[in-house]
Subunit: 433 residues, 2 copies
Amino acid sequence: MNAHAPRYRTLDMPGILALLSGLPDIAARLGGDGAQWTICEVSDGNLNNVFVVDGPHGGVCVKQSLPYVRVDPSWKMPLDRTFFEASYLRDIHPLVPGLTTRCLHFDPDLFVLVVESLSGHTVYRTALMAGAQWPRVVPDIATFVARATFGTSVLCAPFEHVFERQAVYARNTTLRRITLDLVLDDPYHDHPRNHWDDRRLDDVVGRIRASCTVRRVVDGLRLRFLTCPQALLHGDLHTGSIMATATDTRVIDGEFAIYGPIGFDCGMFVGNLVLRRFADPSPDAGRACVHDIHRFWNGFVAEFTRQWATAHPTPSDPSGPCAFFLPDAADASSRGERTPGPSQDPLQDLPPGRAAFLRAVFEDMVGYAATEIIRRIIGYAHTADFDVIPTHEARTVRRRAALVFAYGLLCHHGTHDGVNAAFGALAGQGEVE
Amino acid sequence: MNAHAPRYRTLDMPGILALLSGLPDIAARLGGDGAQWTICEVSDGNLNNVFVVDGPHGGVCVKQSLPYVRVDPSWKMPLDRTFFEASYLRDIHPLVPGLTTRCLHFDPDLFVLVVESLSGHTVYRTALMAGAQWPRVVPDIATFVARATFGTSVLCAPFEHVFERQAVYARNTTLRRITLDLVLDDPYHDHPRNHWDDRRLDDVVGRIRASCTVRRVVDGLRLRFLTCPQALLHGDLHTGSIMATATDTRVIDGEFAIYGPIGFDCGMFVGNLVLRRFADPSPDAGRACVHDIHRFWNGFVAEFTRQWATAHPTPSDPSGPCAFFLPDAADASSRGERTPGPSQDPLQDLPPGRAAFLRAVFEDMVGYAATEIIRRIIGYAHTADFDVIPTHEARTVRRRAALVFAYGLLCHHGTHDGVNAAFGALAGQGEVE
């Protein structure tokens, strides 16, 4: 099946149960014996088989790579993606223990990953489409991105450690190639993988593709995606990669993990919040969206700078981390630990070097959010957000408005002085164009 | 001697000859038999043993890593640096065949590297100190940097190929750590490795270290050095890493090879041109220095953009390189192949995306040039340039002027609109301060 994995075979449900029976820690977690376990296939993403197994004491979630894309078996793909997901969970779980699921087991021959199962959680995109208003999710994701990125960057650890980790994820070329092509390339020219179901989007697509500014900005984002390994990214942090309840938030599906610009994870998440807003054009949804983006960005900045302030760097220790952008004495005395209100610029009181670093993350966030919006409407992999809109006509109007908004973000990329400048228009009444 | 290299031993001259006798290709290149060969130790750099071996037909240069720093045996060091030099030569020789030396053999147990020997070449720093005026060197180095960096970047090759190469050099942590510490860290605070021999420099050193702007700029350069792997760099491209005659230029000593920002190689070279100018404060030297920096930067831009224009990217081929910053139709028609004159901005007629990319390289060049000047005067490894100045008094005056100049570059970093803005003052009469 795969030259590099001679023992690989795609497991059916009895095969999964047999595998788990042979893993004492997992069997103990499930409790009872195999005859008492139930298994249910819950494959939902585009790539892998996923099963939930429950026993008398508890449950686990089992994920296996297929040698092809699950939703398109003609698209062959190496098996190593669950390896990268397992590595990602092992690397970030200590940094964000309550915000993801723990890796319990990884089988390097079968490419089977076993993680804690979640109970009562819903895919956040689905919950949003059903009208859920869960106030924890946005700040939790802000904390997740801040801790997982800071903790895997050279801001926190000696570069020797970071580079070792980076070398692992540098081999995740299959999924990096997919993101590069599907998110940052295909939508900007004719490609058979692109699709949209209404010719009334053609003129906006044409304008986006004809714009020299858009092409230059997207080229820059593509280049940064490849040559700016600031931190370990989730790499696919849309609202479908989040499982939540009203009080608990977990990030899942880390197989796209790579080193890259921190603003990529921020932008994926924000882009999906914006897609949601265009699928529900009520004024309330608009205001809530802008409020959420403020809360996300301010929460991210607050947590990232908190991590930075407490990293206790020791520049004189050559094996220790580098003390990047230490506050000057003057900064330190004027700085507090407060989180700025939603209308304040969270960067204004930071030491200038740290503010400049985070301003670049903000620019990336805005740019990658725009590319995420565009590719989810005209690229290969759309999202379900717009499916709840009753008429084809209305879906087209709203998708069109989202495209126009993203087009504007790219046209003015680099000039947005904060969340309001980039996203404030989303709070406008009714349709946004 | 080294846990990872059980067969390693430091070879004496008979040992080198015995090793070469066992290598048929090398023996044939030398000609005759071993008894007719002469060997001469020419170790000159800080790190390794170097020998030149000559036979009736030709010569080779032999370099062996020591398990310590050659000039300071108490400073232990892994042996792998000749491995990285051999890899660098193999990677870049096809890109710059006449501008470096070919790797003829590498012994992974003894960490012995054999390269083509050069005949009649002088270390460029030494030649400059003796008053040589060789017009080929500066444009040759411009071409070298442009081709070696473009050809190893994602601008030229699919990222999958680039990342494989990058993973090799990511392991060159020993020498990256040395650059990070000795060039970009130690000089900016008290460290026992720093030294200078005249207390009359103390006040400038104090000003440099007390400046919040300098600290922020140097922090930014340090961070880019670690998180901006644009291309494969030589990593130590000072005038002592260049062997030249009036008509031939070769870059040697690639053991510091790493992926990093392209402006680092540019800045190392330019910083050493500036050091040379301060060691010879005649108006002629000043004008020549500014002229050389113009020729270097314009030559680099011309060659880099020529490579970019002829890379024939095929964006629709997913395994092909990415077409970054393709010229718009309007750009393409107005662009020529001319190299701008020394007073023209070489970026002015480029497609905007390419101009922006190269503007960032320019900023890096200026910043790293400044850090190179500073560390060569107050850091661990000084250069010989100032040694030809007859009096201690005059040496101090000129080193002080160089420090003040570099301090100015850092204070205004990011605001220099081209070579004249950054370096034009060097053409002033007599002493520069």
